[in-house]
């Protein structure tokens, strides 16, 4: 035996090194060693009440390294490298969206642009995309019947194809008679120097059978003001059927919001705005309810409105996060039962970054947790200072 080792020692060393490489490459030590000792600590309520007990933020490891990390009760969650499949759709469409909306009809996504807009309901998938093709503004439409798997792709001309103006597809819905409703923003160039634009939200109804526009109506028009986004408040690429949509536009001198009924096109104002100085942080439209939240300092004001009438549906709930000596706070998500909020205080000695889930009716805290760090005083403060909370608890 010893003669064999003497004979093969070089190859064995080399193979040994290869195994060392494999070990080093696979070893998780790479991710965790050198990590700050941060974690999420439950302060109130029952952790089991929360479906997904993790928050995400960025951590400034060093001058040029900010890395997105997740926190849960055990510690840091590192983002794992995306697989080839994930790289295909992320960040265009989240894996969840692809699964829920396009499962079984993945081919519908072939060749679609990542800045296009989608619509999905039980019977149909639709896609609309505005392109500026040889001096013409064109609306590319694709429609797929989920049952018959019949897909038809066609193009229609936008009414105004003046190149100095600009079309952009905002939303996609479906009319009762099967037509496609496309809501596009049309920014008209007022003066030659292209410094000021007038914006109008246009509703195009398209007959997929005839492959032509059946009606064009202007929903709302107005002058663009800085920091105020005129038109549809959108936060998704894939629309489900939405009986009502939220539109922000100038309203007799001030800035206001309207509820837009998809089917009829009726606009009705919603009395959201109070002093006009508040900072809205959440517009969550669910069927005919709008969950609206705004912040002033550490106080979060939550209220929901009936989009049909435009009137408040419930009393305004006030959550004063200063009780947790937070300085700033915001609501991030809502569902029929609760709201998810974030509160922070960066200036405090031990910087505070907290998340909570609040009962929609009573405003009472169902669950609350804060980011905490372990180690020496100095280590804790440094870790908390370098961590910026980005997304709160998902509902």
């Amino acid at each position: 035996m010893s003669r064999a080792i003497a004979k093969y020692w070089i190859t064995s060393v080399m193979v040994g090194l290869v195994i060392v490489f494999a070990f080093l490459y696979v070893r998780p030590g790479w991710e965790t060693k050198g990590d700050p000792k941060l974690r999420l600590a439950t302060l109130e309520g029952d952790p089991k009440a929360v479906a997904n007990l993790s928050v995400w933020g960025t951590y400034r490891y060093s001058r040029d390294f900010n890395s997105r990390i997740g926190l849960d009760v055990d510690g840091i969650i590192h983002e794992k490298e995306p697989t080839l499949y994930e790289q295909t759709f992320e960040p265009w469409l989240s894996a969840k969206t692809v699964k829920n909306m396009f499962d079984g009809n993945l081919d519908f996504l072939r060749g679609k642009k990542n800045y296009g807009t989608f619509y999905s309901d039980d019977e149909m998938l639709a896609y609309a995309n505005t392109e500026h093709v040889n001096d013409d503004w064109v609306l590319q439409i694709s429609v797929l019947d989920k049952d018959t798997k019949q897909q038809s792709d066609f193009e229609v001309q936008y009414p105004d194809s003046n190149t100095r103006n600009y079309w952009f597809t905002d939303a996609l819905q479906r009319a009762a008679n099967g037509d496609i409703i496309v809501l596009s923003t049309h920014s008209v160039n007022v003066d030659a120097e292209e410094t000021r634009h007038d914006k109008e939200l246009v509703r195009l109804q398209i007959d997929t059978g005839k492959k032509a526009i059946s009606s064009v109506t202007t929903v709302i028009a107005g002058r663009e003001e800085d920091k105020k986004q005129l038109g549809l408040l959108r936060n998704t690429k894939v629309y489900n059927p939405m009986p009502y949509m939220l539109i922000s536009a100038p309203m007799n001198g001030k800035w206001g919001y309207y509820s837009y009924q998809t089917a009829t096109g009726k606009l009705s104002p919603i009395s959201i705005v109070k002093a006009g100085t508040e900072i809205p942080t959440m517009f969550d439209v669910a069927d005919d309810r709008l969950d609206y939240a705004y912040t002033d300092g550490s106080r979060i004001h939550l209220q929901s409105f009936d989009l049909a009438t435009g009137q408040p549906e419930s009393e305004e709930i006030l959550i004063d996060t200063s009780q947790w000596n937070a300085v700033s706070a915001r609501a991030v998500a809502a569902n029929p039962k609760a709201f998810s909020i974030i509160y922070e205080n960066k200036k405090a000695d031990d910087p505070i970054a907290g998340v909570a889930i609040v009962d929609r009716k009573t405003g009472k805290v169902i669950y609350r947790a804060e980011v905490q760090a372990d180690g020496t005083e100095q280590e804790r403060q440094e870790a908390l200072r370098k961590f910026d909370l980005v997304s709160g608890l998902a509902l």
């Binding site: 004979k7 093969y8 070089i10 190859t11 080399m14 193979v15 090194l17 290869v18 060392v20 490489f21 080093l24 490459y25 696979v26 790479w30 991710e31 965790t32 060693k33 050198g34 990590d35 400034r60 490891y61 060093s62 001058r63 040029d64 390294f65 890395s67 590192h78 794992k80 490298e81 995306p82 697989t83 080839l84 499949y85 790289q87 295909t88 993945l106 996504l109 072939r110 060749g111 200072r385």
Partner: protein, 276 residues
């Protein structure tokens, strides 16, 4: 099977000296680089603190953040790291030809002895394929061993409060070159090295084509290599009608087929057509 181990052992023994030289060179140059960059960081910090009249490093850290080893590498795409690796790659690329031609040319053509070993000739092929691969992965091991040492050495040269801790795989993602060499996603790693090994096999096929048909073989080898590369790039040319992961899988499939075909062709040439 013993034949394979014995031939592999022979090939590895011939690579020992170059391996030791390369390993020492990589470690030494990178460590010196760490030393140089630590000096640079310290001077830069002193400058900023003087200019902006910051009393403590703490303030510097809050205003600008402290430069970790990964930061300074990323900023100037540190030649200290890339150069030694580049030299190793250059040598290994040369060696992929030399591993065959050393046994053919010269007064003592060892290849005829190898061809007369009473075992299937694919042992010769696999010995000459695995030996360089073993050395490549051994060098990668050296690199992964040395990186944390460099990081610690870099920190050791800085005053205590200027030291920064971070997960070391950021050290790899700091340099695009290193990220290709050691991709953090296992899938990407398998993909890159699968392509690499397929390329080596295609290269070996070219060499064996030349060794079997001399000038005609050389011409054949060039045509073969060009065809292989062209076919390998077809998936990239596909329009956006294909999903990215489909293109990737198609590419992996094509590469595997090219690799398998080349492997079969190489073994056939070695068995039937090679001439000493």
């Amino acid at each position: 099977m013993m034949t394979f181990w014995k031939l592999l052992n022979l090939e590895v023994k011939r690579l020992v000296i170059p391996f030791v030289i390369m390993a020492i060179m990589v470690a030494a140059v990178q460590m010196y680089g760490a030393h140089a960059m630590a000096r640079h960081t310290e001077n830069e910090a002193k400058e900023i603190m003087a200019r902006e009249k910051l009393a403590t490093v703490q303030q510097l850290e809050e205003l600008h953040g402290l430069a970790s080893y990964a930061d300074v590498i990323r900023i100037n795409q540190s030649p200290w790291i890339i150069l030694p690796i580049g030299l190793c790659i250059a040598f290994l690329l040369f060696y992929l030809f030399f591993v065959w031609y050393r046994d053919f040319i010269g007064k003592h053509s060892f290849m005829s002895r190898l061809l007369m070993v009473p075992a299937s000739r694919h042992h010769i092929y696999f010995a000459k394929l695995f030996a360089p691969l073993l050395v490549i992965f051994a060098l990668l091991a050296v690199q992964l061993l040395v990186l944390p040492v460099e990081n610690r050495y870099y920190n050791s040269l800085l005053p205590d409060e200027m030291r920064v801790e971070y997960p070391l795989n950021y050290l790899i993602s700091a340099i695009p070159f290193l990220r290709k060499l050691i991709p953090l996603s296992a899938e990407q790693f398998a993909f890159n090295y699968g392509m690499g090994i397929a390329a080596v096999i295609v290269l070996y096929t070219g060499v064996l084509l030349e060794r079997s048909f001399r000038l005609l073989g050389l011409f054949g080898a060039i045509v073969y290599a060009v065809a292989a590369v062209y076919i390998a790039t077809i998936p990239l040319g596909l329009g956006d009608h294909w999903f990215f992961y489909e293109k990737a899988r198609l590419l992996a499939g094509i590469i595997s087929v090219i690799g398998a075909l080349s492997l079969w062709l190489s073994l056939y040439l070695l068995k039937r057509k090679i001439t000493v």
